[in-house]
Amino acid sequence: MATINLIDIIAVLMMGTSFAVFSLRQYRHSVLAYALQTLLLVAIFLALYDKYDSHELLVWSVTAFIIKVVCVPLYLLRLIKKLGVVVDDEPVGGFFISPVVALSFSLAVAMMFYKVFIHFSIFKDVLPLFAASFIFMMGIFGFILRTSFLKQILSYCLFENGIHLSLALMAYTSHELVEVGILTDAVFAVIIMSILAKRFYASYGSLNTSKAVNLRG
């Protein structure tokens, strides 16, 4: 019973950190919130391993810790330092409205999805399944509502975390190469987006993607 509560608590904390990644104005703080969320993801893998004796998730937690708790945040912090940017640009709808919109719509969509997912999930833990959909949607809304390229990279990381959690809950028994393939893609996507962010900053003098209006029609 205690383990079940622990998993639920971690799931709620993950939702809280996804809100923090989305809302925090300072890039550095957002990256640290992401690192914390991924640490919680590792913790949930370990808790699920403990509860269901699923050895695959033990391996997943180790790879996720190395790649997503250590490497990706360090890489992003280095990028922030290189670019010399500190605070996010004003997002669509303003700093206050956009988190409220993202939060409410993500909650609504997660309410719909988790009911479907729970029918087919290997683990029938309600709150983690709900959290996975919520985090995924927060990432999607991050892309829609935040104009900063860096915030969009973090949004990618967010929805990737949502998918990773869904994968652990619904398909952890799949071939081990599946997780390797998906993680490799995620890492390369972050690296490539970071290179483009550097180019973007050099071209536009800002990370504000709403300035990218040269290609239309």
């Binding site: 290997i122 929805f159 619904m170 398909a171 180019r199 290609l215 029609g217």
Partner: protein, 489 residues
């Protein structure tokens, strides 16, 4: 060594080797062509084995090549080779024009092998999650084939490409996870393998399959350029170098469409064909009319062809929607016909941009006198794109009409005819604008390209006409087998 293993290693190895080569253009050019020929030969060998009814699989069916995969692998081999050969000419011009550095050319050649590797992997994966990973990897491998320059437009196109495709494909990953969890424990064998899922589709939960297909359509549809998530495509295809656009439009879109067709097959056999056909007709119709609307307004030759790519993805979706053996045959045939046609169209824009120094068709004219061969090749691409009889695309569009007529779907026939008519009018008005009349802008290269430079384009034109007037038995065999697999006959 196993042929599939060679296909999975050689293009990647060639990409790495190319990165290490010295900065000497003549050498890089020859080496690139040589390695491209080797890669394409390997791919065609594998296709040949499937034509000879051999079953190719690796790692306990994790990797496999079926007849449907063989069709798309042959596109990677043929269209990919010709676009890569043309790339050496195009890059020579870019280098001479001072638009690109030799190091960037080398990186471009190297990345094109990595790109070919990821596309081949996406076609060969039987594991649906790994297939997803490979399709996502195609985006990552091709970002810097699009954004080759450091300017604003190039960066913007790269940004839109990776961001929009990654968001879209995330939904496809959810479809994959949901399909696996719906099948896990309910079917015999590994629930992540497409072949197992297809064989046991009838025992899967119908509601789950419907949701899976909607997610897959959003995900792979975004990558394939289906409306309304097509918005990245015009910017990316118009902004990249001509051979990149040829590869993206001619091959990459088809790889994403293959992913969608595999889901189409599983879901159709699980919930019945009516559901998937209805969804695909709606998607195809929307895509056709959205692209036709934007096509009329285009004066940028590459943007025009980019909207054409969207339109023809709509045709493929429409063919899948009309369904039946003939509709499916037509949709798969259209993948090949459009691949050759669009590769020729985009490669000819490389010639045109060299002649006029612009992509704006209102500043062109008199191409028939300045560069008659390029004008003819451009004309062949246009004729095929609008479905003139005797050219490849006519065959598939005619078969879609036939499939609809046999099933008595006359309203669909009408919708399809109206969309094609709009595209027809828009295209020929643009073609005449560029090819005849007075030049409104300036002519930077007053003359035809060398014959050797035009050879890949001529080969593509020959393929377009051949597929329009001739029936290739081995290719028809692959199409028939694929249709039987989807229909489980």
């Amino acid at each position: 060594m196993d042929l599939l293993l060679l296909i999975l290693t050689v293009p990647f190895a060639f990409g790495v080797i190319m990165f290490l080569m010295p900065l000497h253009f003549k050498f890089l050019q020859t080496f690139h062509i040589l390695l491209s020929v080797i890669v394409s030969s390997l791919l065609l060998c594998a296709v040949g084995k499937v034509v000879n009814k051999e079953v190719l699989s690796l790692f306990h069916d994790f990797i496999f090549l079926d007849s449907m995969g063989a069709i798309f692998l042959s596109l990677i081999a043929i269209t990919g080779l010709l676009a890569n050969v043309y790339a050496t000419t195009y890059m020579k011009w870019e280098l001479e024009g001072g638009h690109i550095s030799l190091r960037e050319v080398k990186n471009y050649f190297a990345l094109s092998f990595i790109f070919t590797w990821t596309m081949s992997l996406s076609v060969l994966c039987n594991n649906i999650a790994f297939m997803w990973a490979a399709i996502e990897a195609t985006t990552l491998a091709s970002v810097f084939l699009v954004a080759v320059h450091n300017d604003k437009k190039s960066t913007e196109s790269g940004y839109k490409y990776i961001v929009l495709c990654s968001i879209g494909l995330a939904f496809a990953l959810y479809a994959t996870i949901l399909l696996y969890s719906a099948a896990n424990g309910k079917i015999d064998g590994e629930a992540m393998l497409y072949t197992n899922l297809l064989a046991n589709a009838a025992s899967l939960d119908p509601m789950a399959l419907k949701l899976v297909f909607i997610f897959a359509l959003i995900g792979f549809g975004t990558k394939a350029g289906l409306a309304p998530t097509h918005t990245w495509l015009p910017d990316v295809h118009a902004e990249g170098p001509a051979p990149t656009s040829a590869l993206l439009s001619g091959v990459l879109l088809k790889c994403a469409m293959l992913g969608l067709i595999r889901y189409y097959a599983v879901v159709a056999n699980g919930v019945g064909f009516d559901f998937v056909e209805t969804v695909m007709v709606v998607s195809g119709t929307l895509t056709l009319f959205v692209s036709a609307f934007f096509l009329i307004r285009q004066h940028n030759v590459k943007r025009m062809f980019a909207y054409h790519s969207i339109a023809h993805m709509g045709v493929i979706a429409f063919g899948l929607g009309v369904g039946g053996a003939i509709g499916l045959f037509a949709a798969l045939f259209h993948c090949a016909a459009h691949s050759f046609t669009k590769a020729l169209a985009f490669c000819s824009t490389g010639n045109i941009a060299r002649i006029y120094g612009t992509k704006d068709m209102t500043k062109m004219g008199n191409m028939i006198r300045i560069a008659p061969l390029t004008a003819v090749l451009f004309g062949i691409a246009i004729c095929s794109l609008v479905g003139v009889p005797g050219f490849a695309i006519f065959v598939s569009e005619f078969l879609i009409f036939k499939a609809a007529a046999i099933d008595g779907k006359y309203i669909l026939m009408g919708i399809f005819a109206v969309a094609l008519a709009i595209i027809f009018i828009a295209d020929f008005s643009h073609f005449f604008l560029a090819s005849f009349g007075k030049v409104e802008g300036k002519v930077e290269h007053n003359g035809e390209m060398k014959l050797s430079e035009n050879l890949p384009l001529i080969a593509l034109a020959v393929l377009i006409v051949s597929f329009g007037i001739w029936q290739f038995d081995s290719f028809t065999f692959l199409l028939d087998q694929s249709v039987k697999t989807i229909l489980k006959q």
